[in-house]
Amino acid sequence: MGILKTFALGGVHPKENKLSANAAIEVLDPPKQAFIPLGQNLGAPSKPVVARGEEVKTGQLLAEASGFISTPIHSPVSGKVFKIDNILNASGYKQLGIIINVEGDEWMEDIDRSEDIVTNIDYSSEEIIDKIKKAGLVGMGGATFPTYVKLMPPPGTKAEYLIINGVECEPYLTSDHRMMLEKGREIVVGTQLLMKALKVDKAIIGIENNKPDAISHLTELVKNAEGISVQALKVQYPQGGEKQLIKATVNREVPSGKLPISVGCVVQNVGTAFAVYEAVQKNKPLFERVVTVTGKDVKKPSNFLVRIGTPVQQLIDAAEGLPESTAKIINGGPMMGKAISSTEVPIVKGSSGILIMKEEEAHRKTESACIRCSKCTYVCPMGLEPFLLSRVSRVGKFDIAEKEMIMDCIECGSCQYTCPANIPLLDYLRLGKNKTGAIIRSRGKTA
């Protein structure tokens, strides 16, 4: 196989712990009550179009987009709108959302629920983008950026490559892995649809080498698909980051502060490719997704196909309950995920996994002084100096932070993972990014 490709700078290799890799995707029943937050995408939250007491069907439009970077939300269940009120989101803040009391499971008539795979593409590029927009698709990797925005390159730029992200570099998570194994054919059709929408003739599916079954399965499937190739990649975190994946697959570097389109690339997650297939070929809006429930003490680490709005508690119950040793529940993977404060929070379009950590591994170690070992600089995939950036953020010198390119940080957490002094580098980097970003924005307003 030769030397496997990977990105150029830094990176770490945490223990993979893919406990649920062999657990086939299980379909979970709709919840009794679905909590659907209105802000499920990066950008402006959606605007509700249903009223209290209204009967809704599965797949019916609940809220429409309220701006350019915004997406509609469709009902994941059928039933009656109980109320539109503040609901708890994953970070512990209350956010406006729609609560639906579930009755039965009646789908909209125009959704094709058959199992047949439709391979014929009889839509034009614009039609595909329009369907994706109407189906409320967002990036399923976790950033929840509206998919259709990525498919419309700004004037003056042209896409050359479509890169499908099947890396799943976060330890523990296996939802994309299972998708590739079980929904491979749909993903290939989804990729072809995305290629047509973008008017590109080359697509690369990047998969890390710790998923050999997925690599061989997809390589087999793309044999007849023109222009699509599968690229095995060396296992390295954070290869799933857009910029890292572009460097690894097509060896191009996205300049600081620019989008991937500036080097002719568009990156989409495999989950998104699947959702594109369902939205375009089956008329099915995005209202369910695959979520991994895992953890060292979890009795049954699994991958579930769940409706958006299902409380996390129901997923944990389906994985045979919360283990007694539980100390922390994380929404997402261990590297970038955030701890949740309640199991009442619902699954949203961007949830990729629920990680249950036990007491011994959940807590931070005591921080000691920086010994200038430069490990953080060595592992930073963006070529930054995390020790310096966290220090200047800590003392509030945001002008230096800006000069040292803090805004390029992708918050992957490699620095904090590798730090021998257990310094919460990422915390202060996030703080610095937050404040520097605010300063830059306010400057734009006054200028």
């Binding site: 503040n86 708890l88 970070s91 512990g92 803040y93 209350k94 955030k338 701890a339 404060s341 309640s342 807590h363 931070r364 800590r394 919460p424 915390d427 202060y428 996030r430 703080l431 937050n434 404040k435």
Partner: protein, 327 residues
């Protein structure tokens, strides 16, 4: 040998003289006139350079006052919060203007989320920065408006006027406060507000910024403002307004009658530095600490007749307060 010394002296002297002549004319030509009054005004200012007036440092404030006095014949809207009335009167005297006395202000922490009132449900382990914690999560006790207790206001204070109380986990403002606004800006949750100090340091304020409906607010914190509007009804002076389930007392209209304090069912309204009520009212008054400096009390006793729910935490709270009273 001697001639070398003479030549050197003559040459240097010549260069020096020519340079002096050039500099003399340059200085005349490019002279920047600065009002000498600015220097005098700057002398009168406290030289804290805290930025509380809204200008970058005392010099800039002095310039602004002198300019305003020249152009508008008044210095309205300009106030040095650190120097207070005395300094502003003196500045007025220098400029030959009459300055209206402004009431002194003090920072007020509007949260009562002590561990007993607002028990933690989750534990936050991370950077000790309020801004970071605010961006990351809603708060340990579930109230997304509550004080995070990580002390960014304390760090922001240049005057040693605000400290964390380790027992309550809330910041406490002392009388060193100059109302420079630094803590107000530092707090990511807008909990701290500058309010009038009030006569004899007495003031009444709503110690809560929770804009949620009553039930969810009360669920997380016993002393949250639930927006019941009882205080609004009892106030005869139109000082209390309720917006999004949160009462606010306008300190210009408030006459410190303390009726709202008695009325509030959750004790979200605080009175500070009042004398204890007469015994006919069967409730203990707020804590008054007599000493070198009056410290704003952070614990307010729970009135006895509250009948909503007499559960454990409330009793504990009462005991704590009694203890503090005895001390």
């Amino acid at each position: 040998m001697e001639s070398i010394i003479l030549i050197a002296v003559a040459a240097l002297g010549g260069v020096g003289f020519v340079a002096a002549v050039i500099l003399f004319f340059v200085a005349k030509k490019f002279k920047v006139y600065e009002d000498p009054v600015i220097d005098i005004v700057e002398e009168a200012l406290p030289a804290a350079n805290c930025g509380g007036c809204g200008f970058p440092g005392c010099r800039a404030f002095a310039e602004a006052t002198v300019n305003s006095a020249k152009e508008n014949k008044n210095i309205d809207g300009l106030n040095c919060p650190v120097g207070g009335n005395d300094v502003m009167q003196e500045v007025g005297k220098i400029l030959g203007l009459e300055v209206e006395a402004s009431a002194p202000l003090i920072a007020v922490v509007r949260c009562n989320g002590t561990p007993t009132n607002h028990p933690a449900k989750v534990k936050f382990e991370g950077a000790t920065s309020c801004t970071f914690a605010h961006a990351l999560h809603g708060g340990e006790g579930g109230c997304q408006y509550s004080c995070l207790g990580l002390g960014e206001c304390v760090e922001a204070c240049d005057f040693d006027a605000i400290h964390m109380n380790p027992e309550t986990g809330l910041p406490v403002v002392n009388n060193k406060c100059t109302a420079c606004n630094a803590c107000v800006i530092a707090c990511p949750r807008d909990i701290i507000e500058l309010r009038k100090k009030g006569p004899k340091d007495r003031r009444i304020f709503v110690s809560c910024v929770n804009a949620e409906k009553g039930a969810p607010a009360k669920k997380n914190c016993q002393t949250a403002c639930i927006g019941c509007s009882k205080c609004e009804k009892v106030c005869k002076f139109d000082a209390i307004t309720i917006t999004s389930f949160l009462a606010y007392i306008d300190f210009d209209n408030c006459t410190l009658c303390r009726k709202c304090v008695e009325e509030c069912p959750t004790n979200a309204i605080w009175e500070v530095n009042f004398k204890p009520r007469k015994p006919k009212v069967d409730r203990p008054a707020s804590v008054v600490e007599k000493g070198a400096e009056k410290v704003v009390s952070k614990e307010k006793p729970i009135p006895l007749e509250i009948s909503v729910d007499k559960d454990q935490p409330k009793k504990e709270n009462k005991e704590n307060n009694n203890k503090e009273n005895k001390e």
